[in-house]
Symmetry: C2
Subunit: 127 residues, 2 copies
DNA sequence: TAACACTATGTAATAATATAACATTTATAA
DNA sequence: TTATAAATGTTATATTATTACATAGTGTTA
């Protein structure tokens, strides 16, 4: 595993210690004191961090969370639970789920190289 | 099933006859000749169409496609295959997949009211 | 019908999310 | 060391989506 660059490390640290997913401009606001001034600097670091699997993008929220699954080096097979009230997001690590989806073939026999699954519901607290 | 309003019908017809997912501003451009002039008019119709399950949003693409699954009245359980080259999107209707996911419970026993799954790979033509 | 609630529409302005283009610097490897 | 790739810095701009406010249509029901 390569080391992270300066900007990548700053942004990863911020996301990693956050309790909830962070949006790009929230990240920008937070790292301006560290010298990262422009959106593009944030998006470039985010792109790289997603590419190497250190963070994931929650597509339905346009937000980013740190990978909570140490074995997940690359974002090829991701599943999340999202509370529709408090917006808490948890990465699901279920061997049976990932096995099922990784092996899933559609009618045409098409096999996929990647998937992203987002579940929505109410978390314990909000129920 | 309620009838669609004028704007909803115009926008649904456009999406329904499109071979690929349409983005909101592409829709706007296409319906300007029919009197829909502002983004908000498009987004309002899209929101409603998604709500009643006539269309689905492809979250990773910020684009919309007509529901290809006649039994899918509400967008509660959606799965798509997306070609990473030609961007063709197909709605997957697999009884076993939807059964598996609808019944999926995480470690905490949390059951979900909704999910969205996006598979990525190469379609037949692009392989 | 009249009153009401609800849904949809129209319009302008603006917020939020993301990328293009170009110049420069730093890290890595041959 | 020289070449190459990766990362950075900066400005401008493109794309996606919402707020706020005014008006009009639709359906119920008293």
């Amino acid at each position: 595993m390569q080391n992270l660059s300066k900007n990548q490390q700053i942004i990863f640290d911020l996301i990693d210690k956050s309790a909830e997913p962070l949006k790009a401009y929230a990240i920008l606001f937070n790292v301006q004191k560290k010298g990262i001034k422009a959106p593009l600097q944030v998006y470039r670091a985010l792109d790289k961090l997603v590419e190497i699997g250190k963070i994931h993008k929650i597509e339905s929220r346009n937000a980013f969370i740190a990978c909570q699954n140490s074995s997940c080096q690359v974002s090829k097979a991701t599943a999340f639970s999202i509370c529709e009230i408090c917006e808490k997001v948890t990465e699901i690590s279920s061997a049976s789920l990932s096995k099922y989806l990784t092996n899933f073939k559609d009618k045409d026999g098409m096999k996929y190289s990647k998937y992203n699954l987002e579940f929505f519901g109410l978390c314990k607290k909000c129920r």
